[in-house]
Amino acid sequence: MEREEVKKIKDWMNTEEYKEKNFNRKSIVINPERACQPLGAVLCAAGFEDTMPFVHGSHGCVAYYRNSLSRHFREPIAAVCTSLTEDGAVFGGQANGFEGFKNATALYKPKMFAVSTTCMSEIIGDDLGSIVGNAREKGHLSEDILAPYANTPSFVGSHLEGYDNMLNAIIETLGKKTDAVRTDIINIIPGFDTTVGNINEAKRILKIFGINYLVLADYSNTLDSPLNGEYKLYPDGATKLEDVKNCVNNKATIAMQKYSTKKTSAMLAEKFGQDVRVVKSPVGINYTDEFLMTLSEISGKEVPKEIEDERGKAIDSMTDAQQYIHGKKFAIFGDPDMLTGLTGYLLEMGGIPKYVLCSNGTEEFKKEIEALFAAYSENEGEVYIDKDLWHLRSLVMTSPVDMLLGPSHGKFVAREAKVPHIRIGYPIFDRVNIHRYPIYGYTGVINLTTWIVNKFLDVLDDISDDAHFELMR
């Protein structure tokens, strides 16, 4: 094409008129930041001791989950499937299920299969309960191997619901309520959080508090395992199955995300009468304070001086740097709980979360963000649910921002808008080690401030002429 013609079209794509057209579409989704349920189920399973994710479906699906998670964590991801093919559509997938259990047991000797589904097995109407039951009856699946199962259709919800459904199934299947007095242990459910640094930070805080805790679906070690010359199919450090059995008798549960733990949280409260607290993900000062106060309330312990000092240091880092964030406009995108946290943090810094865009957000989430805007009298903020990154492009090209925060897929929008992009969330395919650094807690405040401000300063240095290329910033 002629360059002039290309430019004409590109210019048109940056107009209000195009934006309106773009926002009017109903049927095509373009660059959504959203994956499907079974991916969440596989991630969840990676947090349990000697557990093999067992996906009932075609092997293409499982190859995709393994690829995607491996690219993000830069770690091996184990998962098997029933390799359904065309005849499965006709005869059902039970025979593949039987053979799958048999082969996977011989090769991988798991203590648990975390069984989930795909589009195909859902549509052909396979019943996981009877496949698992019949497999046991016919001797394909040993009684010694646990096999909780969850329906995780890809045409409902996103990876968040898949994580939730699998976790719910695992706890509900394994949990055994006893009459004994509750322990002093607090369950921590991180939710679909691929920043292993966040889980480590939560654990560090709990240790300083002196609280006994149990992380449910703890993949902070299995998906960040040491390189020492030995490949472990099931790396050390996952949640012990024995602990899962007892987790329902623990004192309380704190869910650190809301939208990926709804079913599990409700189940623990309703079925096991547990004290379940769903906190805002502890990103920024306010939500970290709230998290600590929840810990304090449940445990009856005061917030330790050590942590209060950490808070002071975080505030110090914020005030040192706030001038570089104040009044700056941000477009943020990704999973809802992370976005609530980031919105809070940016507002605390005087930044403007101009666009908060969530491809898997709900009305409830939208109201949450709007309430945050209201609390800070933020009139410029806009929140979008069920929208995608092509919508985001229209937004930033018609009314610009200074920076993007979100997963790697946003890089194409950032490039067109010519603004920097800090990688946070899932997936991150194009930067190393980011997922090891927490955005949670006061440590997270320092990390976020460091990344955002230094990025702005790098840009400032890059665009400064000689006269303005100064030593001090």
Partner: protein
């Protein structure tokens, strides 16, 4: 040196002894010991169902159609038709580089999906698809075609995407092409390649005409190069220097406009036989255009390939081709002199798709490295036939090798380098074994052509000889 077949067979027997009788019998047929004298296709049984419950490296028909064949075509919109996941996972993950303004001339970096929800499964998605196509045409008026790639549900719920495609082609005036690549079809990506080839045959080939005034006797098309990290560009450079005129490149950095006029070329040059032999055969049968396979990995194979291709043409091309070979020889010798001493005798194990497990052998040999086992994800008999002669006797050859077998084989063969995909990468790295991703060139490349070999050699060296591997064991445990 005489090959001890018994010893190699023992290794295989040992590894598969863990399986149930039925699975053992199955896997035994898929793992063989290379023997050039007696065996061609018999080295490994292929293109049959994977065992359920094992970590097969295979993907699905959708991955073969959308991810491999259609995905790199830059001027069309690929719709992942169905639920959200497939399109998400295959979004920008194959490194098919393409030049051209995004959203105007180039849609490769996009993820378009009809994002099926429960109601679409229950009531069908044809209306939604129709609406989606209209919206796309309005938002991206310069797209030259719209490709509908079916995900599993489409075939299961009985949607009629062919009818939608036909109506929409008439309505919007650009080709709207249905591709029935539901993931449950076939046993691997391979059927997806075939399905995509057939859709190109039915809806694209022959739909345009090459400009007669620009026709030359040296018009060729490249088939089966997906421009991973720029492979097409480094290959084109050589063809151009040989005096050939590359009219179309399928499908890396390719376009539907080129595909429409490809039947006007004189020869087809086929790199990835597995994924595009179907369309090559079609061109031969329908248009009488001969095709020839080539291998642009490593100077030895490049030289052979250049000569093989040059023979199809007149003396002027043959002379130029010899000049090309001669011109690059010093540079290639320099690369070999630099890296070969660092890589000599190093052992490589491969597990890749449908071409590279044999095509890259020569490039490793150019560096003095030895391929001790090679494996395909989704090859067919004709691939194994082509593989046997590339390998030394005694090399272990495996079909649809799963992770357990791969790890166990590595434990016994003690490779210095494993060359495979992302799913395998970190498994071997945890074992302290250097690794290169050989689907994506591990975010490097190109590896094709003379320019590519220099990068290939550098990358193999930086993997094998990285000082970081020396720290795997703690100093206090040395």
């Amino acid at each position: 040196m005489a090959v001890n077949f018994k010893e190699q067979e023992g290794i295989v027997e040992d590894i598969i002894s863990i399986y149930s009788e039925r699975a053992k019998k199955n896997r035994k047929e898929h793992i063989g010991i290379n023997d050039k004298e007696t065996c061609g296709t018999c080295v490994a049984k292929s293109n049959v169902k994977s065992l359920p419950g094992v970590m097969t490296p295979r993907g699905c028909a959708y991955a073969g159609s959308k991810g491999v064949v259609w995905g790199p075509v830059k001027d069309v919109i690929n719709i992942s038709h169905g639920p959200i996941g497939c399109g998400h996972y295959s979004w920008g993950t194959r490194r098919n580089l393409a030049a051209g303004e995004p959203a105007v001339e180039n849609f490769v970096s996009f993820q378009f999906t009809t994002d099926f929800k429960e109601r679409d499964i229950v009531f069908g998605g044809d209306k939604k698809l129709e609406q989606a196509i209209k919206e796309l045409h309005e938002l991206f008026p310069t797209a030259k075609g719209i490709i509908i790639e079916s995900e599993c549900p489409i075939g299961l719920i009985g949607d009629d995407i062919e009818a939608v495609a036909k109506t929409m082609t008439d309505e919007i005036g650009i080709p709207v092409i249905p591709v029935r690549c539901e993931g449950f079809r076939g046993v691997s990506q391979s059927l997806g390649h075939h399905i995509a080839n057939d859709s190109i045959r039915d809806f694209v080939v022959g739909k345009g005409e090459i400009d007669n005034s620009k026709k030359t006797p040296y018009d060729v098309a490249i088939l089966g190069d997906y421009n991973i990290g720029g492979d097409v560009w480094s290959s084109m450079k050589i063809f151009k220097e040989m005096g050939l005129n590359v009219v179309a490149h399928w499908s890396g950095d390719g376009s539907i406009e080129e595909m429409k006029i490809t039947h006007g070329v004189n020869y087809m040059l086929l790199h990835c036989y597995r994924s595009m032999n179907y369309i090559a055969t079609h061109f031969e049968e329908k248009y009488g255009i001969p095709w020839i396979e080539y291998n642009f990995f490593g100077p030895t194979k490049i030289k052979e390939s250049i000569r093989k291709i040059a023979k199809l043409f007149d003396e002027s091309i043959q002379e130029k081709s010899e000049e090309v070979i001669k011109a690059y020889e010093p540079k290639m010798q320099e690369v070999i002199d630099k890296y070969r001493p660092r890589l000599e005798g190093k052992k490589v194990m491969m597990l890749v798709g449908g071409l590279r497990p044999r095509h890259i052998v020569g490039a490793y040999e150019d560096l003095g490295m030895k391929v001790v086992s090679t494996a395909y994800e989704f090859a067919h008999n004709d691939d194994y036939e082509r593989t046997t002669k590339e390998l030394e006797n005694g090399t272990i050859v495996a079909d649809d090798m799963n992770e357990y077998e791969f790890v166990e084989l590595a434990n016994r063969l003690k490779p210095d380098l494993v060359a495979s995909g992302i799913k395998e990468k970190y498994v071997f790295q945890k074992m302290g074994i250097p690794f290169r991703q050989m689907h994506s060139w591990d975010y490097s490349g190109p590896y094709h052509g003379y320019d590519g070999f220099e990068i290939f050699a550098r990358d193999m060296d930086l993997a094998v000889n990285s000082p970081s591997w020396k720290f795997v064991k703690p100093s206090w445990k040395e």
